[in-house]
């Protein structure tokens, strides 16, 4: 499994493009953005098997409803994806009509059926989406499509993100080199439930539609769904995975060694994108990675690890570089899972060292000076052992800072 450049264009036969159409304020007027694009398109040279997972929020963005309907109609096949930022097209009376129009514009431009187009939007909820700029942008996007324009697309989906998020890997299936890459956006309103903020993944590996969905659903559970920036599950969360088979491997149609390799590649890309999302959480200065080991079940490990990265108090303590481990124990304690709190141990670790703060559910004497050094790093690992089994899980989050409050006290204006 080797890291490669190229994001969504790493896999064979995927072209992308991005442009600025005017939904988002230009970068010069908006000090929060260093990137200019606000709409992107990406297209496979051939029809793909497609899989998707969506937000479980009852309020669903119109693009979610339209994408779901399209994939049902097309039998989970897709060829193109259009996505815009700065406007979520959610809670709008004409939302579905506009999202459908976006697919239609792409379909007409590319000469493909409308139901083979996936649409996604992210941004403010409840503001009417202006369609005119998109009508003008689609031909520009289509003209700009190229095999190396992944960055144009990755920057177009950014909202309060401060960095673009891309990751891709190369792997072998029966001697055939395959690629899988993705891009993601998101910085706030991140507490995915069965899906997450916008994530787009492409592969040239040949995989059956059924296994594609199965792999995505499994991996999303241990990657995006283990991420929380602020406990708010977005209305527009979506992960969409397209595989066009252009690598030339025999289609993976049943579980086994090849499927496991594909799943590992998918995990590698999704876990790394998840990590990037956590690290670029709104206002964040530190990545928090909580690894829960020694759990009786996988679900217990996930629940405990997530509970810790979701704790506002612990997140604020990490911002203050304060080894307030009682808040870790508190968050473990209210996690909705079964284990014996008196067996729990906790270590805090970074590239600057490691300190043990709790053993058998009670505090251990430690040097506050050493703790300060460990916590001065910008990536902090919270290592929990429940000493109750062999399962483990990782959850990702970030610290809670003044800037989170600042960004969200004044997001719309």
């Amino acid at each position: 499994m080797k890291y490669i450049d190229g994001g969504i264009c790493a896999a064979k036969g995927f072209k992308a493009s991005g442009t600025y159409c005017g939904i988002k304020k230009p970068a010069v007027e908006n000090p929060n953005t260093t990137h200019k694009n606000d709409i992107c398109l990406y297209v496979s040279d051939v029809l793909c098997n497609a899989a998707a997972v969506y937000t479980q929020n009852k309020v669903k963005g119109a693009p979610i409803l339209v994408t779901k309907a399209n994939l049902e109609k097309s039998g989970n096949k897709a060829i193109a994806v259009i996505a815009n930022s700065k406007n979520a097209n959610t809670c709008n009376a004409d939302g579905v009509e506009k999202a459908d129009k976006m697919c239609e514009l792409v379909a007409n431009e590319l000469g493909i059926p409308k139901e083979q187009v996936i649409v996604a939007s992210t941004g403010v909820i409840g503001q009417v989406l202006p369609i005119e700029p998109i009508v003008e942008a689609v031909p520009v996007l289509a003209k700009g499509l190229d095999y190396d324009k992944n960055l144009e697309a990755a920057t177009a989906i950014m909202t309060t993100d401060t960095v673009k998020k891309e990751y891709a890997v190369e792997f072998e299936i029966n001697g055939v080199t395959c690629k899988l890459g993705g891009m993601a956006k998101g910085s706030g309103m991140i507490h995915p439930n069965m899906a997450t903020t916008l994530n787009f993944i492409t592969s040239d590996c040949a995989v059956s539609g059924e296994l594609l969905q199965k792999a995505l659903s499994e991996i999303v559970k241990v990657t995006y769904n283990c991420l929380s920036i602020d406990g708010d599950t977005s209305t527009n969360d979506m992960v969409c995975l397209m595989a066009n088979g252009l690598a030339g491997n025999d289609e993976i149609a049943c579980e086994g060694e090849e499927y496991d390799i594909f799943k590992t590649a998918l995990y590698e890309v999704m876990a790394n994108l998840t990590r990037m999302l956590a690290k670029d959480g709104e206002g964040a200065t530190k990545l928090l990675e909580c690894i829960c080991e020694g759990a009786a079940t996988k679900d217990t490990a996930i629940t405990v690890a997530k509970s810790v990265v979701c704790s506002s108090l612990f997140k604020a303590a990490m911002f203050g570089e304060d080894a307030n481990w009682g808040r870790v124990l508190c968050a473990i304690g209210y996690a909705d899972a079964e284990f014996d709190i008196n067996k729990v141990s906790v270590d805090l670790k970074s590239d600057k060292g490691i300190i043990s703060v709790c053993s058998n559910g009670a505090g251990i004497d430690f040097s506050e000076e050493e703790a300060s050094v460990v916590l001065s790093a910008d990536e902090i690992y919270i290592l929990i052992n429940l000493n109750d089994g062999d399962e483990s899980a990782t959850a990702w989050g970030c610290d809670l800072t003044y800037d989170y409050v600042k960004i969200n006290g004044d997001y719309r204006t």
Copy 2:
């Protein structure tokens, strides 16, 4: 139901006292506190029926364990309560021993059985509780006990609280005047689950032990359990209610009109203390009160209202006085309850006016200027109608501010 002064000393036969023993840094050294006491005692002239609810966190403070054991041993009778702030006596190897010692000191001083003493602690988790200052404080506390020293006690339980919280009411049971009052502490780590931060309630009404517990459990569900400051369920949450019967009414021993009056009094006191806790949430500048009406069930109304006051994004928007109602819809949407999102309406209200922002699940045009005026108040009401039934509930919270981050980035030092 009439408001009266006196807090825990409002009811007949309850004496209180408070002092500074040195667990907490003196006020002069600690700019976060304007109050000096760190330990208090209150005592009833006669034995009381007692009821309590405790945190559901698996990590339970030692005082919780000892109080629970005492009430079991005494058959839910109690006469005295000792409580300290600044140290939670939680996750300490010698915690139970020390909490038990606190009860023993009070019992010896007052000449009562140890199991009739309730003990509570609040403050930092995982720091060894120094017992020597408490040994010296108990005789001082006993000597200072008086029928008008409720304020000495109410300030002794404060941690990051900026104001003391007391409330009491007067009511009639069959022509007999009864009183019920309480005090509470808490400002952070507040997201009660079946109980909450420390809350002490006293009454001179005669009520059977069974009905006392029933009333407490019912009312806690719609008051403290509908409160969230930061989503963190504390390890030391406890509400304890004592009734000594000195008002002289015939004991309320079965459900009916008298029981309902008592419950209303209990609701009045607990709801007002809850409101005070929310308003004094760590770093808060605004009280948020979310009223969900038109729900098919009470639980749905509670779940929806709580989801909104728990949303970090909405809380930050309120700090910024930004009518970002999409975040209200988003939080309603991820509430774990059954209703039709397309029927939901939302108004934002304060003493400066009211604006409708959402109807039938979609946005309504409103004046941003008017919205700014409404949201400039320091008590904001979020009115939700699910248009799906007749049940309603209220949840309380506060805005998310720079100061919350500041306080919690540097709490231990």
